[in-house]
């Protein structure tokens, strides 16, 4: 962000130096004669293409079979049978959108709507199933031509814009500053379609019926929509923010402000000695006591290690009354604890299970490109990913837990009958879990619902792969209250990816029966708490925010685990 803003400021200064009256006229003259390269360089001047190449064409490697490419991989046509949604096919661009773009835009011209015009234009993360239209899966976003709906990681769309068909030009703009996306049709802005987008998405188009042909313009040609005007507004906004940033000190003396910033950062994260040394050398003072800082650090470590029960206990003993005053915080912590219980990390179940806590990936190198999971296990939170790469604390977070042992996998494989027995028992319980989690979702706001739903599917997939046929039916039952449409989409995946899921299997609560029961009990209590909280607070904005935070908390560990297990299996 800092790089981006400074870039913007530099650009602005440049623009300022040029004759303000005539600069845009000059620009326009340029655009007629400039080459594709010059255009892209000018629009995305802050992108270093050596490090993060811009998408310039569709990828012949990252597409479904039913997609054909031509004209320098810019034209996409459908070549499947196109019977139903199972024949949908997508293609991603060669590269993800570089974050340094700030604002990214591409356009797609509908050359032919083909038989039914089931075309989707949008964005998806690496690894999202290509046998789909963009928008149907987690980390996939799309705007569909047949109904004009927007699809935000869901099989059911929301009314969004007009339909589009042969001859129309549809544009998609990703604003990486506020993480939103809007579409355009024939040069008219249709308004924001998605918010809270993760980074590292790829431009994606999907087609579904024969005869559908679309052409992409990644900036090689002038755009129909005046994206540069939009960029101009953001440049201006950013500049104004910087210029009007209040300086509390005298006459723009920044030093004290900067020092205070560093100091509060150090104190906040509990780097006591550093904070102390820094304060001494700069003549600053901080109010918090060192022991308090250390205590906070301790709790933080426990949280990061997934030992939530201990973290809650410690908080309660060190800061009595804190969690009572913040029931929402307690709820969030407990939700996390539940997740940790399921994967066997939390201390409540850790003692009961035979093994040490499930590991977290310690390499920290899990970039999106390495990650390929089945779509039903899809969520890879790229945003978390990038944040982790940027932030300092998050790096320390990856503590050296035990890595997954392959021996255990072999073990379960070689004893299918015993493990199946054990799991038959747990299937019934899993349905109970489903109802518990569904119970949550019905009581929570929408955002959360997806998480819960998703978690339950995670768990269930794990089960069904172990018990195969017997369990998969009950899995379906368990899920069916969620969304009919969604289930439809899920179905195919289940079979496609069964094998993969099996390979990524792990055991519930570390495999201990007692732990499972404890976890279930905990889940019920948690539900009770959620109901109570809702009654008490109704749905206020803050609560909603907290739950959104939870979405990330609950998602991430799962993602990490999948990755590390997958890795070890391949090895």
């Amino acid at each position: 962000m800092t790089g981006l803003t400074s870039g913007i400021v530099r650009q602005q200064q440049k623009a300022k130096m040029a004759d303000s009256g005539d600069s845009s006229a000059a620009e326009r003259n340029n655009s007629a004669s400039e080459t594709a390269d010059e255009r892209l360089k000018r629009i995305y001047s802050m992108v270093n293409e050596k490090e993060t190449p811009l998408p310039r064409s569709w990828s012949p490697k990252d597409k479904y079979n039913f997609i054909g490419l031509s004209q320098n991989n810019l034209r996409v046509h459908y070549k499947g049978i196109g019977k139903n949604h199972k024949d949908a096919a997508s293609v991603r661009a060669t590269h993800p959108i570089p974050s340094s773009c700030g604002i990214y835009y591409f356009e797609v011209k509908i050359v032919s709507k083909g038989r039914d015009g089931y075309m989707g234009i949008g964005l998806s993360a690496q690894g999202v199933n290509m046998n789909r239209l963009p928008g149907w899966d987690k980390h996939s976003y799309g705007y569909h031509g047949d109904d004009g709906h927007s699809f935000c990681s869901s099989g059911t769309g929301q009314p969004y814009g007009p339909t589009f068909t042969t001859g129309d030009v549809v544009g998609c703009c990703v604003n990486l500053i506020d993480n939103t996306c809007f579409y355009t049709k024939n040069g008219h802005n249709l308004g924001i379609a998605f918010t809270d987008l993760p980074h590292n998405l790829y431009p994606t188009v999907g087609l579904q019926t024969p005869g559908e042909i679309v052409d992409a313009n990644f900036g090689q040609q002038p755009f129909v929509y005046d994206i540069e005007d939009y960029m101009r507004e953001w440049h201006q906004k950013t500049r104004v923010t910087i210029e009007s940033f209040p300086v509390p000190d005298h006459k723009g003396e920044w030093q004290k402000t900067l020092q205070r910033m560093v100091s509060t950062y150090l104190v906040h994260h509990g780097y006591c000695s550093t904070a102390e040394a820094f304060a001494k050398s700069t003549g600053q003072s901080f109010t918090e006591e060192l022991t308090s800082m250390k205590n906070r650090q301790r709790i933080q470590k426990l949280v990061l290690a997934g030992r939530m029960g201990e973290a809650i206990d410690t908080t309660q003993s060190l800061y009595p009354g804190l969690l009572e005053r913040n029931p929402n915080l307690l709820f969030v912590l407990k939700c996390r604890q539940f997740v940790e219980m399921v994967n066997g990390t939390d201390s409540e179940v850790r003692g009961l299970s035979a093994r040490s806590p499930k590991s977290r990936n310690s390499s920290g190198s899990s970039t999106g490109s390495e990650y390929r999971s089945s779509p039903s296990l899809s969520p890879s939170h790229h945003r978390m990913d990038t944040q982790r790469a940027n932030g300092k604390i998050e790096r320390t977070y990856v503590t050296g837990n035990k890595s997954p042992n392959t021996g255990e996998l072999i073990n379960t494989k070689s004893n299918p009958s015993t493990s199946a027995n054990q799991d038959h028992a747990s299937v019934a319980e899993m349905n109970a879990v489903n109802s518990v989690t569904n119970g949550f979702s019905s009581n929570q706001v929408d955002v959360e619902m997806e998480v819960e739903e998703y978690n339950s599917q995670m768990v269930c997939n794990g089960v069904s792969s172990r018990v195969n046929d017997g369990a998969s039916t009950s899995y379906m039952n368990g899920c069916s209250h969620n969304s009919q449409h969604r289930e439809d989409l899920m179905e195919t995946d289940d079979f496609d990816t069964d094998k993969e899921v099996q390979s990524q299997r792990r055991q519930l609560c570390g495999g201990s029966q007692a732990a499972i029961e404890k976890m279930l009990q905990f889940g019920r209590e948690l539900q009770g708490m959620s109901v109570q909280l809702r009654r008490q607070y109704d749905k206020n904005e803050a609560n909603k925010k907290v739950l959104q935070v939870k979405l990330h908390l609950t998602d991430t560990p799962v993602y990490y685990k999948c990755h590390s297990l997958g890795g070890s299996y391949r090895a």
Partner: protein, 670 residues
């Protein structure tokens, strides 16, 4: 120049003491000392409203004006005097008024002829402050016809003259006469280069002038559209001022100017400057992150831009979530926001009605022509409730906007049958009509017309609540638009109505009024009155009943119209009424017994216009219809008149409709 004024300001009784002292000094003999005190005065009043008021009470203005008017006085003194006046004009409204009352304006305008730039600038600054205040004495600018041309002459002299003159002109152009005057004095050529100025404070007032001169003025708009600034078209320059890194005010004003030019037919509504610049800019101005004033102005201008253009309405309807954004206007201030800041609340309340009115106007424009857009608007959550509430809003502007909106939406058959009925919109509408002004009545009665269409379920309850009397009253108004709406609504009401309703209309309207309307100077009123007659005279029993009561007068009126100088449409409509009459049983006699009318009908059978021929033949066909009593005698009479022969001649017509009618008529003869 730096005066030591600290002693005066610190004085315990600053006003009294120093004031008098100043006055004495101003009347001194030593001109240097006088100049010195004027400068001191300037420093004393700057930014001090109380002091300004006090000095003015002491009569300082008169003395300063003497200096200013004194041709022999040193120009330095005159300039300083003008500057002090400028400072005084920057005070409260009351101060400005006192200055105007002291006759400052004509004197300063006169002084603009001086050759000293500094002095002229001083005068202009003062004039700018006066003219941009709320109590601007606009007409004073035009009293001396030499003033405006002179201002345009000197405008280019300095940034200050540019800024001040543009600001004054932007404020003082209020009527089409003003626009014409400015235009004929070359305002476009003089100010166009200023749009390309590098100084914002020059650019902005210049742009404002272009807004006010183009508003609803086709001649000026066309001239602006074809003007150039250093060989670039002026509209292109406006587009540049519309770019998104310009200030909001500038974007708004340039979009407004483009809008005015478009509505004055100087720019096509398909022009990319309109479709891709003005339209999206205005839509953006409605967004949540804009200030309330900007949102109001944006929505109002948008409503004006798209009012009559279907394509712009369509684009706007799906651009940038406009409809939900506008519907938020109606909910402002939202009840959820906690009432913490009273100042903020006051600001919100002040703007909430403006927001409501603006949004309703925008919805009215959006839904003016397209059924899908109307559906989209009505399906917006709670929107109909807000529209209905708007009909009884305490603020008249909101009521008017709500009626406009309702009028747009009432053009939809589906909405008339469904949501309008669900919300019983007729109730507040009828109430609104009781004591409304003409503006309101015009729109409200147009809406009423639609609500009275035969398929509308509102028709019945409206009849019961006295709609007939209300509409009959409208037909007696001076405003032709109101008469038209009244008679139109009655016509809709009479269509396929029961006998009871028809009688009610006739009684309430009275035959006198009906015949008065038949000689209405407005042809549209005449047409609708004929339509009403036609609707009244439909199906046999009704025809006979009505003719039985008013036959004589109706026939008179018909003859009058057929003999008068009227358009084909009017005559056709009249012949259709005759045809209806001839469909009655006893009513037929009114025609058969009137040789004059029969003669007229036969004449129209051989008229050059085929539509009149058809109508006349249709009439004959009804008269000779052989299944009816007395048909034989009527056939005989008409045969004697040579009608049968005439019909046979018409068989050679190439018009198929006429041919069919003629054939049917001939078949009746036995």
């Amino acid at each position: 120049m730096l005066m030591d004024t600290s002693d005066m300001i610190c004085d315990t009784y600053p006003g009294e003491m120093i004031g008098r002292e100043y006055m004495e000094n101003l009347y001194g003999e030593d001109m240097d000392r006088v100049l010195h005190s004027v400068v001191k005065l300037k420093n004393a009043v700057i930014g001090n409203n109380k002091q300004k008021f006090h000095m003015m009470s002491l009569g300082v203005v008169g003395r300063l004006l003497e200096f200013i008017q004194n041709e022999r006085a040193a120009v330095g003194l005159r300039t300083e005097s003008a500057i002090v006046l400028g400072s005084l004009a920057k005070g409260s409204q009351a101060n400005v008024k006192r200055l105007v009352d002291s006759g400052v304006v004509p004197i300063l305008l006169q002084c603009l002829n001086n050759s000293n730039l500094k002095f002229v600038e001083g005068c202009l600054r003062c004039l700018r402050s006066i003219f941009t205040s709320q109590a601007a004495p606009v007409e004073l600018l035009y009293t001396d016809p030499g003033v405006v041309p002179h201002m345009l002459d000197i405008v280019s002299q300095s940034p200050t003259t540019q800024e001040c003159i543009c600001s004054i002109l932007a404020q003082c152009c209020k009527t089409s006469e003003h626009q014409g005057l400015l235009y004929s004095n070359g305002v476009i050529e003089s100010l166009a280069p200023l749009l390309a100025s590098k100084m914002y404070k020059v650019q902005m007032p210049a742009l404002r002038v272009f807004c006010v001169i183009t508003y609803t003025n086709q001649i000026v708009s066309s001239a602006v559209a074809s003007a150039t600034v250093s060989e670039r078209p002026l509209p292109d320059l406006l587009v540049e001022l519309c770019l998104r890194d310009k200030s909001v005010e500038m974007q708004m004003s340039s979009a407004k100017c483009l809008t005015y030019m478009c509505r004055a037919n100087a720019l096509s509504s398909q022009d990319s400057k309109i479709v891709y610049k003005a339209l999206p800019t205005l839509i953006r101005m409605c967004k949540k992150d804009r200030r309330l004033e900007e949102r109001v102005e944006g929505a109002e201008t948008l409503a004006y831009l798209i009012e009559v253009d279907l394509e712009l309405q369509r684009i706007a309807s799906y651009s940038d979530h406009l409809i939900p954004t506008l519907s938020e206007f109606l909910r402002y201030p939202s009840t959820q926001t906690t009432v913490m800041d009273l100042k903020r609340l006051d600001y919100d309340m002040k703007h909430s009605y403006e927001l409501r009115a603006a949004a309703l106007m925008a919805f009215a424009s959006l839904g003016a022509n397209d059924e899908d857009i109307r559906k989209k608007i009505i399906e917006t959550e709670n929107l109909m409730d807000h529209v209905v509430c708007g009909l009884s809003d305490p603020v008249i502007r909101v009521r008017l906007a709500a009626v406009r909106c309702l009028h747009s939406l009432s053009r939809s058959v589906q909405q008339l049958r469904t949501s309008f009925q669900d919300h019983a919109v007729w109730k507040p509408l009828m109430k609104l009509l009781q004591n409304a002004d003409d503006d309101m009545l015009t729109v409200a009665s147009s809406t009423l017309c639609n609500l009275l269409l035969e398929f509308s379920p509102s028709k019945e309850p409206m009849l019961e609540s006295g709609a007939v009397d209300l509409l009959c009253d409208l037909t007696k108004r001076d405003d032709p638009a109101l008469r038209l709406n009244g008679i139109w609504a009655l016509m809709n009401m009479a269509f396929q109505a029961e006998q009871k309703v028809k009688s009610q209309i006739l009684v309430a309207l009275g035959t006198d009024q009906l015949f008065k309307l038949l000689s209405d100077p407005d042809v549209n009123v005449l047409m609708k009155t004929l339509g009403l007659l036609r609707n009244l005279l439909s199906n046999k029993p009704h025809i006979d009943h009505i003719m039985g009561m008013h036959g004589q007068q109706i026939m008179q009126a018909i003859v009058l119209i057929l003999e008068g100088e009227h358009t084909i449409e009017v005559k056709e409509q009249t012949l259709c009424i005759l045809a209806n009459i001839s469909d009655g049983t006893t009513a037929k006699d009114f025609i058969m017994a009137n040789d004059d009318v029969l003669k007229k009908i036969t004449n129209y059978m051989i008229h050059a216009n085929v539509r009149l021929q058809i109508a006349a033949t249709f009439c004959i066909s009804n008269l000779v219809w052989n299944e009816e009593e007395g048909a034989l005698e009527r056939q005989m009479k008409l045969r004697d008149m040579g009608v049968q022969k005439l019909l046979q001649q018409l068989l050679s017509s190439s018009d198929t409709v006429l041919f069919d009618k003629v054939k049917t008529a001939l078949q009746q003869f036995t």
